[in-house]
């Protein structure tokens, strides 16, 4: 398994920015996965725009990247793509459903050299739960 970073913990403001950003990124990636599938099936951007009455230029911008994504963007695009949304939030101390058999750093630094010291911050000693993605997306 990976060790924690030596970098100092994020400040509350930075954590807020990070959590919000990650929620946008995760939402964007999830929608993009379905969008790529729909594109292969012949769906066009104009079809999506019509489905949710969104300006095609605005839709195009939304599909370029996760900036300015909100819960509204997520929900509308999922519906436009005939998808179903499911959100799960885990605690970082919950085990992964399948124990990972791969860590990029394990593979890379298998000579026993410590790659990073243990983070001694309170946060790493007491892992916090992930931000609620819903809250994060809505916290504009």
């Amino acid at each position: 398994m990976t060790t924690r970073s030596v970098l100092p913990a994020l400040s509350p403001k930075e954590l807020d920015q990070y959590g919000f950003g990650r929620a946008q990124d995760i939402a964007f990636d999830a929608v993009q996965r379905l969008w790529r599938r729909r594109q292969k099936e012949g769906v066009k951007q104009i079809d999506l725009a019509r489905a949710i009455d969104m300006d095609p230029a605005r839709l195009s911008k939304k599909l370029q990247g996760p900036s300015n994504w909100t819960l509204r963007t997520l929900g509308a695009l999922v519906e436009a793509m005939n998808g179903e949304l499911q959100i799960k939030v885990y605690a970082v101390d919950d085990p992964l459903p399948r124990p990972p058999n791969f860590s990029a750093y394990d593979e890379h630094e298998d000579d026993g050299t410590p790659g990073a010291l243990e983070d001694q911050s309170e946060e790493s000693k007491h892992p916090r739960g992930l931000k609620d993605a819903t809250q994060a997306l809505g916290a504009k």
């Binding site: 100092p8 930075e14 959590g19 990124d25 370029q64 992964l96 750093y105 000579d111």
Partner: protein
């Protein structure tokens, strides 16, 4: 992949010249990311990037990379998140932080597939227009830092993005008409 470069990286990490970036959360890293001393300072601040862009916004990009999330191109098939910059110098890459304003650019080089060494961070505004002095200086600093750490060893070089990023990556041309944006 070269055992030699891995040993060199491990030595630099041990010497404090490189810092391994660990993603937050439960999932182990799927890709490797090392920060030079300057990049760490740029990240944790105070720096122009931390003050104007915010560390949380930058770490979001670092998390995308290390967690193995999609390295995405845009709808027109161009780079969006990760771009190889037009030389000279050769093999300078930028990771784009474009979800917060002002934007930021994180400069670095590939040591091997899925292994990025980030050297310096700048706000997009600081860099100015294509071909500006600031762009040249930022790219030159990246190369000089690499040379200082790795000596004669050249960064990883290939012709397709899939060679640099082996999983979960859109297949876009890595230097389409040498355009800046």
């Amino acid at each position: 992949m070269s055992t030699e470069i891995r040993l060199q990286i491990a030595t630099l990490v041990k010497a404090g010249k490189l810092t391994r970036y660990e993603p937050r959360g439960r999932r182990p890293a799927r890709r490797r990311l090392y920060l030079t001393e300057v990049a760490v300072k740029d990240l944790i601040g105070p720096s122009a990037v931390t003050i104007l862009v915010g560390r949380g916004g930058v770490e979001r990009a670092l998390a995308r990379w290390t967690l193995g999330d999609r390295v995405f191109g845009d709808e027109t098939g161009r780079h969006a998140f990760l771009k190889r910059l037009c030389p000279p110098p050769a093999e300078i890459w930028e990771m784009r932080v474009m979800e917060t304003r002002p934007y930021a650019r994180l400069f670095g080089r590939f040591a091997e597939p899925d292994t990025l060494i980030l050297t310096n961070f700048h706000t997009r505004g600081h860099l100015g227009d294509k071909g500006s002095r600031a762009w040249g200086e930022a790219m030159g600093f990246c190369k000089a830092t690499w040379d200082g750490l790795f000596g004669m060893r050249e960064p990883f070089v290939s012709t397709t993005i899939r060679d640099y990023v082996t999983e979960n990556c859109d297949d876009y041309p890595i230097c389409p008409s040498c355009s800046f944006s």
